[in-house]
Symmetry: C2
Subunit: 692 residues, 2 copies
């Protein structure tokens, strides 16, 4: 009942907006199309130039459709937020608008058949990347766009217009995904992420692999059944099934996390979901490319072969570690450059350098044959952890805002394109049986990921992942941009086309139904909302035992790494942390002095003050000392003044530092509507948090 | 002597940076190239896919070269700024790095001849945009890239690698120029711009046309002479000469204005130069396209024909007014949307909308057959004048910083590409006689623009443009991004290729010599530096007579427009200005109440306060009353409280408002090094202003 009312209200609100804009949109499209032939007749002699110009105008008009769509989406999002309508997220909205425009383009606009395409029959063995065609004495250069199935040749000539609004699939992978993924890495809430690091890694790596294989096996069963029932019109191999499993295993955090942010859901649940969905994108990308790389040597290329499988596994490890290393390396390089130059005096240069270095990670990885998207993710995390601290406050704002904007635009673009594709894509294969099977498999695959892993993790965790959290994680496994980009990348074969269609439907369903039902599910599962991440922190500070339990369960894995990071990496790469002269052995004295920035010594004094401030809190003091006894790996150097932080970088330090790290990330301008304090989680789209 | 010392210092500074990076750059390029063949042999069966992948990797590597170049430029700029080296601007530097990389690519890296290109001879009459090639049973889709001269067919096959780093020329026009031009419009210093509006328009419109025709005629003489001396190997028509005149008439403000900003040169000179170079870009673009549109009906397409010429003139007027109208229209639309929605509560949405609307201006203009770059310029000015006032402070910062960054990146990219092109472009035609003639013509053309127009303008101006200002304007006529983009757009014919080569040299010469000599020229011409734009203002406030003269000389043209803008446009489009209920006739009451925002009434009270504040200054009070007697077009409505601003929106108001408008634009983060006050000119790259 409530739902119905809100829908009506939202509809009324939307109707006022979209009708005039949609009309103007179609008019604009028609005008652009109508004006072409008249111009063409005017100067028939400059055919090539005119054609290029016309094609350019057409491209502009097509791009304009998307810009208008995005504009429309933005205005509607505003209306929804303004009227506190929460059942449809902006991504779902973008898809709906995309669908509508797709319908208009498909059925509404009739374009005269373009006779300009010519089919040449040539006696060439290979398909060269560049083709020089000698047409009545003049040479024209053509570039290869791709192979086309024999049955689509007529389609190509028929639906010139629909094909025009179809982007090169690589655009998604090379232009739109990188900012989204980088933003995810750059905005990772490090504090809660590290607290749940073990579980997140388990869900993301083990879970995605499990999900991939479960879905793959189920789909293979489904496909085999379909073959028996003669429901299949083409080949569908086991590798195809696995590939499908890999691409639909990438979950998308956008919709659910936006609502989580708005409602301030439990931070641990948030961290688990966000961390999992960020990392499993990377796993899914590399998993799918490893599956593609599975090529047995024999004649039948779809038999099982141990060597080929090992090779695939090697590809997985190699590409993952390579991408990881590249991403971290450019992040570290940027950190060093920003630390050792006084670039921070010139914010524009600093921001530009940061942007270029982050982008070059992607290009470098792609050029070396690794996966750019994965490299960019780890680059983002490294930049947030190290480089961010070296930037001037202005550049910190600028970089955050820049990537936030790029993320917003890219995401909404992808989702509205998804909607459009349902009607404009030429080679959809709707196979009801496959679709039903896929939905079932996706559901089972998600369950096989979450429940068994949660059970195993709970054996080790003190702060158990409760069953309502597990249900919520199960429910929140939306599929989004990454799944779409992976599935549209290659739609050459029958199997891939069927996969693409099915994937699109899975995305639609999960974004609309699961995304829209998040609020209901939260209240149904009795998950507490309105939890301030800092309030949570203050609770644990007063309740020492609870806090320690949260810490211990995560820290066992990362204490060693954290100590190393805090004592060596942070001082080398940033201005913070203890001076290296205190942490490195005395023999490295000159090097330590060279690498330590003057600020580190100042920090030393400041940290002392900070410590004494914190000691005023009774519970905290207890903890500090309690932890100091735990940490036995103190180097003992610089003991007089810096003992509390130089050697004894314990999980308490970790917790505090991550908290402060987050504090630094707090965005300006988020306190317009909501009465929130400074300690909000960092860098989440500010408008998503506003409750009105 | 001083020059030499500084050069050595800069060289030493640079050497430490660029050598390792250049080495790593070449290594990276080689690695990427070397890794390709090995992979190819692994799976020979997936030829097309592999090829596409390889081509993608190649593209990534090529783009990486440019990213590295930009990174290198940024680091060197920082070093130069850090060491206060001022003889080479960043754009000049970017060109030098581009040149170096061009040399390396051309002579340093040997790429084995790619045999992949195949020449097909076909019996087709037209060159279709899409080509379907049937290669041994499979269909491949090819897209038209352009025509290639018969003599270049072998080159194409030879220099695959050099061609790879060559971008599609349309990239400059459609991707890199728009942000630069938008930024120029958005950052126009409105106050000084409006004060010198008449002169700026004269220089930009009349001056550019004069310059175009003078250069065209001189070049025609030169070409005729070359024909006599048999120095010409191809056709070169009068329209080509005029086209050349049009493209080299577009001056680039970047280098000179950066130095002006740093040295705080006289604001009127700054306004004249900046305004001229921003607007003459627009004039040059449309002039060149009108010249291309000159197509006599007869057989000989290069005779003079009145009808064709009139048509060209019509094209000029039509395209210009169309682009202008479109740019202003989207600006106004954005202003209305931001005024009447509460979008300002959600800064991300606001910024995204602003960005999308500004971009859609470009696309809309291109789709309608107008010139996107010109539309974007006027959109930028409109956005700055109206929409900017409706944005939330955060979005004001965000949009400024975003376009500043885009401008910076695009500009440096274009200039480094220019350097690269000198060695990597395939069809250079270095004709010494043409080049010498062009330099002479460019010089004479600039002189014919500046001196006669200044003489005529001085007849009408009270605040004369002194001869040293004229010399400086003559000297500051650098050619840059626009000239390059226009000349590389079409290099199909012999004439165009020779033009392109010559244009490149003109750009190099003017950026390095004129740009580098700006400081010397300023001191040589005894032009006062260190003028704070606000100090200048305060002088005129205390010295009433001087101020009035400055005003009157500019205001005669725009008093009417200004009154209209202040009384009707500003209140309709923004929250500022007097309420419409006061300015519109009483019959429009309901409409006026609907359009007036509540803030306008608050402003009303505030304005009164402002007025009374200002009246405390003695000189100002005199002026206020003096102006009020001048303005006789007061509507008389709302006389009791709002007389001073409702009707009597005089040039004093204009001056004050523009001043305050500028104040709003002041950037944060510019006060790190220089002791400057708040009243700095708005939104010029902050680091350019820092003196250290």
């Amino acid at each position: 009942m409530v739902f119905k009312v809100t829908v009506t209200r939202a509809w009324r609100a939307t109707r006022t907006l979209w009708l005039p804009m949609l009309v103007s949109l179609s008019v604009c499209v028609c005008v652009c199309r109508a004006s072409s032939p008249q111009e063409d007749s005017a100067m028939e002699n400059i055919v090539t130039e005119k054609k290029a110009e016309e094609s350019h105008r057409q491209d502009s008009a097509d791009l304009l459709i998307f810009i208008m769509l995005l504009t429309l989406t933005i205005l509607t999002i505003w209306l929804f937020k303004h009227r506190r309508f929460r059942f449809l997220h902006e991504t779902g909205l973008a898809m709906i608008y995309g669908l509508l425009v797709g319908v208009v383009l498909r059925y509404g606009i009739h374009v005269p058949r373009d006779m300009g395409n010519v089919t040449l029959s040539c006696h060439v063995n290979a398909s060269p990347a560049t083709l020089l065609v000698n047409i009545s004495g003049k040479y024209y250069e053509y570039t290869l766009k791709g192979e086309i199935g024999a049955n689509e040749v007529n389609d190509v000539q028929d639906n010139e217009m629909l094909r025009k609004v179809t982007f090169d699939p690589e655009v998604f992978f090379n232009i739109l995904l990188p900012p989204i993924i980088f933003h995810a890495g750059y905005s990772l809430k490090r504090r809660h992420f590290f607290r749940n690091m073990g579980s997140i890694l388990a869900y993301a790596f083990l879970g995605t692999v499990i999900s991939c294989f479960v879905i793959g096996l189920l789909m293979y069963g489904c496909v085999t059944l379909m073959k028996q029932l003669k429901q299949l019109d083409g080949d569908f191999f086991f590798t195809d099934c696995l590939f499908f499993g890999a691409i639909v295993s990438a979950t998308d955090p956008v919709t659910v996390l936006a609502i989580f942010n708005e409602l301030q859901v439990d931070v641990d649940l948030y961290a688990l979901l966000f961390g999992e969905s960020v990392l499993n994108d990377a796993v899914a990308v590399i998993l799918s490319s490893s599956i593609v790389a599975y090529q047995p040597q024999g004649d039948n290329s779809h038999t099982f072969e141990v060597m080929a499988m090992l090779k695939s596994f090697g590809v997985f490890l190699g590409v993952f570690s390579g991408s990881f290393a590249l991403g971290v390396a450019t992040g570290v390089f940027t950190a060093l450059v920003t630390k050792f130059t006084k670039l921070r005096d010139f914010q524009l240069l600093e921001t530009a350098l940061f942007f270029l270095m982050s982008w070059s990670t992607f290009l470098l990885a792609e050029a070396c044959g690794f996966t750019g998207v994965v490299a960019v993710l780890f680059c983002g995390i490294t930049q947030a952890h190290y480089t961010f601290n070296n930037l001037s406050p202005e550049s910190q704002d600028r970089t955050k805002q820049l990537f936030e904007l790029l993320n917003f635009l890219a995401e909404n673009f992808i989702f509205s394109y998804m909607g459009l594709t349902l009607f404009t894509f030429q080679n959809h294969i709707f196979n009801p049986m496959f679709i039903v099977g896929a939905f079932l498999a996706v559901f089972v695959g998600r369950a096989a990921n979450i429940y068994p892993l949660s059970f195993l993790l709970n054996l080790g965790r003190r702060n158990k992942i409760r069953s309502n959290f597990q249900h919520m994680m199960m429910f929140a496994g939306l599929r989004g941009a990454m799944t779409f980009a992976l599935s549209i990348r290659d739609t050459a074969t029958y199997a891939r086309q069927m996969m693409f269609t099915t994937t699109l439907l899975v995305v639609f369903f999960t974004v609309w139904i699961c995304g829209g039902g998040t609020t209901q599910m939260l209240s149904c599962q009795r998950i507490r909302v309105g939890v301030d991440s800092d309030q949570d922190n203050s609770i644990s500070i007063t309740d020492g035992s609870e806090r320690r339990s949260t810490k211990h369960e995560s820290a066992w894995l990362f204490r060693i790494w954290y100590n190393f990071d805090h004592n060596y990496l942070k001082p080398i790469l940033t201005h913070s942390g203890p001076p290296l002269t205190a942490t490195l052995p005395p023999c490295c004295g000159p090097l330590a002095r060279f690498l330590t920035s003057p600020q580190a010594y100042e920090n030393e004094c400041q940290l002392k003050d900070d410590d004494s401030d914190l000691i005023l809190t009774d519970g905290d003091m207890n903890l500090t000392y309690g932890d100091m006894t735990v940490s036995t790996d103190a180097t003992g150097a610089h003991m007089s003044g810096g003992a509390a932080f130089a050697g004894a970088a314990t999980c308490d330090d970790l917790d505090r530092e991550l908290t402060y790290g987050d504090h630094e990330l707090v965005m300006r301008g988020t306190r317009l509507v909501l009465p929130m304090d400074d300690s909000e989680p960092p860098f989440t789209d500010p408008y998503q948090r506003l409750r009105m």
